[in-house]
Symmetry: C2
Subunit: 390 residues, 2 copies
Amino acid sequence: MMPESPIRKLVPYAEEAKSRGIKVHHLNIGQPDIETPEVALNAIRNFNQKVVEYSHSAGILSYRKKLTTYYKKHNIHITSDDIIIAAGASEAILFAMQSCLDPGDEIIIPEPFYANYNGFAINAGVNVKSIFSSIESGFALPAIADFEKAISSKTKAILICNPNNPTGYLYSKEELEILEELVKKHDLYLISDEVYREFCYDGKPHYSSMYLKKIENNVILIDSVSKRYSACGVRIGCMISKNKEVMDTALKFAQARLSPPTFGQVAAEAAVDTPDSYFEEVSNEYIARRNVVVEGINNIDGAFCPNPSGAFYVVAKLPIDNSDTFCRWLLEDFSYENETVMLAPASGFYSTEGRGLDEVRISYVLNCDDLRSSIKCLDEALKVYPGRTR
Amino acid sequence: MMPESPIRKLVPYAEEAKSRGIKVHHLNIGQPDIETPEVALNAIRNFNQKVVEYSHSAGILSYRKKLTTYYKKHNIHITSDDIIIAAGASEAILFAMQSCLDPGDEIIIPEPFYANYNGFAINAGVNVKSIFSSIESGFALPAIADFEKAISSKTKAILICNPNNPTGYLYSKEELEILEELVKKHDLYLISDEVYREFCYDGKPHYSSMYLKKIENNVILIDSVSKRYSACGVRIGCMISKNKEVMDTALKFAQARLSPPTFGQVAAEAAVDTPDSYFEEVSNEYIARRNVVVEGINNIDGAFCPNPSGAFYVVAKLPIDNSDTFCRWLLEDFSYENETVMLAPASGFYSTEGRGLDEVRISYVLNCDDLRSSIKCLDEALKVYPGRTR
């Protein structure tokens, strides 16, 4: 049975709040307000083919070739044959799971993790084994002993998201090299979701799993243009691997759905020419936003938030009994100066029952002023929330 | 394990033939050469949003509302809540299977059938039970006794494609009413793939499964703009049902992949305004093409082809030992006046081993002149094919 998305189950309450004239700050979703690069939109406006044909099931060849230049800039050296274009990272993750694991196999994912991984695992018939990463450590990679404990004869892969959704944590080179040894020792696949690659802050570089030379044949890179170019609706992602056997299998799944979207590929191909200045501006904006959120939350009595170096999410610990109840209460029973906030209860990002009950995920996808108002709302809310714990 | 597509496995041989300077007529694929309506392409050229956002997981509301007007014209009365927009009929069929059947359940499909149904069934963990429809009957609906024989306690659904790919057969009102009684008697789902709805010839109307009032809650309509508007690359289809429970479940699968492609939806919404004259012209063109192919094949000694009233495919019986061998031979070892044809071996459309060995699927997606040359090629080929049987 497909679980309900932790991000969406509160939508009816938000709609109801809006119908009462309340302004709802949406900190629950990963839809950035940043503009899509002009170069991508112009490509669509100049679309001049007369028939919108199926593309190659692995994606338009000129796009795949151009993508290799993007990765080369990031020191990832691949050919167009190492890429399968998918309908977003969503489809790429599904292809990766279906190609690397058989139904009944196990995949290890540090929790909290992106809730939709559960859905893809269900689709692929794969069982998720989660291992715990703690807010106190800022959600760093769990100890190797915890991985070892979780590995069984059914374990075929480890999945990481770097930088991480929902925690914003950016894995270090050292952490990835630890994973490299583990993956090598047990001959597993490492599925590395790097869709937030461009969102690394504080001068910390992104260290891709594709850099791990000892396990070159075990790494599956998942990527997407959704966040990179603020183009979530184009539904273009990809799966990359140097493992020919995995790619051959993935291509069969890709062929069954015929082709990825043509328009999206045209926009994404053009987007490769996005100037570096775009990313610099976006990065500066997100750093400012993160600082507003992290400082704001840490100034709230009883609340705690790590200061992560990537993506545009934080998981914060609040003095609350139950984050599901709290997030719903914010929409149903609370407002401050006619405003409230919509947050994602962190419980939905843990697969272990009972975890994340005093945590929420906050997406800092609004401008700094709205984020300040949101934090103010949250502060006032915690002063009067009946389920406050400390 | 995903089976290889019968349409694609010969691609390397076609490439090789082309590299030897041979002109290959592609009668193997369902990619029409008809132009996409201007109104759809203009909508894309005028795309004026600054951020390409996720749409609603069920699709852009304005598009779903507009789609209801398209269906109303076809006497199908639905609301926007009865529609989930998907990345092509491919995704819609997968959602339908996942929502109506549990892993291990059975779905009955008359064979020959669209080969990718196998892939979706594997994805959904569902077992396909095929029942035989014969070329001698023009691939009419199999006898009700054959369905009854195939139904077990595991059977949850029947899947039909109307008009049919690969056979072109258009099911009659009477045949659908027979299915209605059967579906009602056993309380099954009827998944009805009607992506070729606009392609009905000889004055025969299309009778939708949505007209079957006695099983209104059991019918899942699968549709797509790919063929209707010759826009295969936009990847926009949909799943339609009045069954709220099925739609609620399907929405969860839809949410797991976030949203269908935004650009494609914009084009598809505009395409609803395509003038009727477009379909008339297209229809006349396809009738002319079908006539070239059907007459042409029936004039070949030892060959037989029914004269179907829908879609743009025929399945033809040829005097050959093995259609896989023959289709490959056409590309590897044969040419006539420096031309050859690429056909789809029909064996790939049967799930029963050994069937379709003397049959091929022909897509009449080329202009009449090229089709005439193709038939001439085929005629000449059969004169010299070493595996000729009669």
